[in-house]
Symmetry: C2
Subunit: 321 residues, 2 copies
DNA sequence: AAGATGTAGTCATACGTATCACTAAACGGG
DNA sequence: CCCGTTTAGTGATACGTATGACTACATCTT
């Protein structure tokens, strides 16, 4: 029933003042506290199981050394990798990082920034309400460069150009576009670039989800001028395209080439493996965290754009003559 | 450059005392503050863009109304669903929820509980160090019932029995087990139950990852007494088994039946779709959060065990005679 | 008319920490 | 032997909030 011990309890146990405890445990006792006194304090703290009260520390210091990563969904290998990169950089600089899922459908009682005391936010541009939390230092992932918020982006246009070049190089002249039904810069760009660089003859949109994508793909593949290749905005949508092809008895890649975007796990779980753009998600996370920490230091880091890499696998081949 | 406004700034702007601001904004002004004064306070707060300082509030109240969900990895649809269920219950009770990935390889500077002030923890038994944070109210997901920590579990044994029954019912007499190379109760149980209920003739272990699973599956399928069915500890491992079968020219399900566990996204992205156990992950999250909130109220909720559901799909069939 | 009750607030304080300003003792130099 | 410096600490305070105790005034009740 005993309350959690405070630094004052430790002080009492060690026979010193609370100030001394604070100094010792903060590692600032250099030349101000005798080594043996320091040992005694540490020993007492250990014995009592003392853990500093974070709320008090945060209040006193006016900062938390913690940043918030806002992701549209937890169920994403992609954001898992972003987290890994961000966490590495944060850890090196003594920052903690917590994650909060946030999207349009969820109507949470509290906005992510109202849940915990944090110093800054790293937010995905997918998902809602990012704009509403501009009072706190913010770096946005994959944001429209026209937006004033500092951004760390992929070179989505370059990636899509690579896909278009690959397919036209193989000889494809009728390309279908399976677009993500999400209103975000990163997907708008994919559509625009593809339309410029490749002979897109038809298009459908789908939620980023397998069965919806299957349905959307079927509408394209059932058209009289069936495309010889489907360019998908996302690997998951590509997985739906595979299912549609299978349903119609089309062989991938010889009857139909399929491409994805992101190179998440399913890309290599599919058969044949998916030709897609590998985005360096982990590096994105690292760069974004670096930019955010710069911002916390009062600097204004430039926007960043990271190139992707075309992964040519088994799902693309020249069209049948 | 102006600092963030405090409740005192709001008080000054509205011409009242700080106490009154606190009362009004906490909604406790019933009968203690004139409605028009309340309006003035709210108006001033809005105008100044006041947001309460969470660190100060947490310090004063001694609690945060926030719980921490510790997951082994972000890249998991499964834990995404757990989160959804937990967040729903938390929201209904006015609690916030933050997420922290935590596993053995990551060597973060700070333990999850040292990053933010929280009231309790919901932790996956996978991943490391859960045991080290027992000073805080805790509920563990899928934990060994022998462990003293309160747990909310799946009926893993029942699920595995269902798979064993399904396969032996189809006539399989030589079953291979592709186990997860993770030392955790939930996987140990799978192995034990399967060995009891089905004719397991061989076994291999693999990391929960596609290519590693493919390699492990190949060692089983290349044996002289090749099994007619592979039971996989996890859907992702099953995806690797598909690839191994494909590499050997084996038809799924007629040359080789494959089963998974979890029913995550890839289960239906695979071709043919995977027979697996659907675990009610969202309900698990909800029940676990309910149990944790009970604990925070000083109660001691009983352990829970949730049944899974056998999803029979295209990856299982009778063996060739 | 005088005490009781109600209304509309204000005052003071504590939560636990980190840090600046201070002090008491020991020591060394001239 | 006295003053300046170093050593080893201590005391007081502020961070911003929530809340129990208090007050001043107005309105009933008998």
């Amino acid at each position: 029933m005993s309350k959690r011990p405070t630094s004052r309890d430790v002080a009492r146990a060690a026979g010193v003042s609370q100030s001394t405890v604070s100094l010792v445990l903060a590692g600032k006792s250099e030349g101000r506290v005798k080594p043996e006194t320091g040992q005694a304090v540490r020993e007492a703290a250990r014995r009592l199981g003392y853990r500093p009260n974070l709320a008090a520390r945060n209040l006193r210091l006016g900062r938390t050394r913690t940043v918030l990563l806002v992701v549209p969904t937890l169920a994403s290998p992609f954001f898992g990798a972003v987290y890994t990169g961000a966490a590495r950089v944060a850890g090196e600089r003594g920052f903690g990082i917590i994650v909060h899922p946030w999207n349009d459908d969820a109507v949470p009682a509290r906005s992510p920034v109202d849940i915990e005391a944090i110093d800054g936010v790293l937010a995905s541009s997918l998902g809602g309400g990012v704009t509403g939390m501009s009072e706190v230092p913010l770096v946005v992932l994959d944001n429209d460069p026209a937006d004033p918020a500092p951004a760390v982006n992929f070179d989505v246009a370059g990636g899509m150009r690579a896909i278009a070049g690959h397919l036209t190089g193989l000889g494809h002249r009728r390309i279908g576009h399976l677009a993500a039904a999400v209103d975000a810069w990163t997907f708008r760009v994919r559509g625009e670039v593809l339309a410029e660089e490749a002979p897109v003859v038809c298009r459908a949109t789908s939620a980023i989800e397998v069965t919806a994508a299957r349905t959307a793909a079927l509408t394209l593949l059932n058209r009289p001028d069936r495309p010889s290749a489907l360019v998908c905005d996302d690997d998951l949508i590509a997985a739906g395209a595979y299912k549609a092809a299978r349903a119609l008895g089309l062989d991938v890649p010889h009857d139909l080439s399929i491409t994805g975007f992101d190179d998440i796990l399913v890309a290599t779980a599919l058969e044949p493996e998916l030709t897609t753009i590998r985005l360096p998600a982990e590096e994105l996370g690292a760069r974004a965290m670096t930019a955010l920490l710069e911002r916390l230091d009062g600097h204004a880091p430039p926007d960043v754009s990271l190139p992707g890499e075309l992964m040519i696998r088994g799902s693309t081949a020249p069209p049948r003559p």
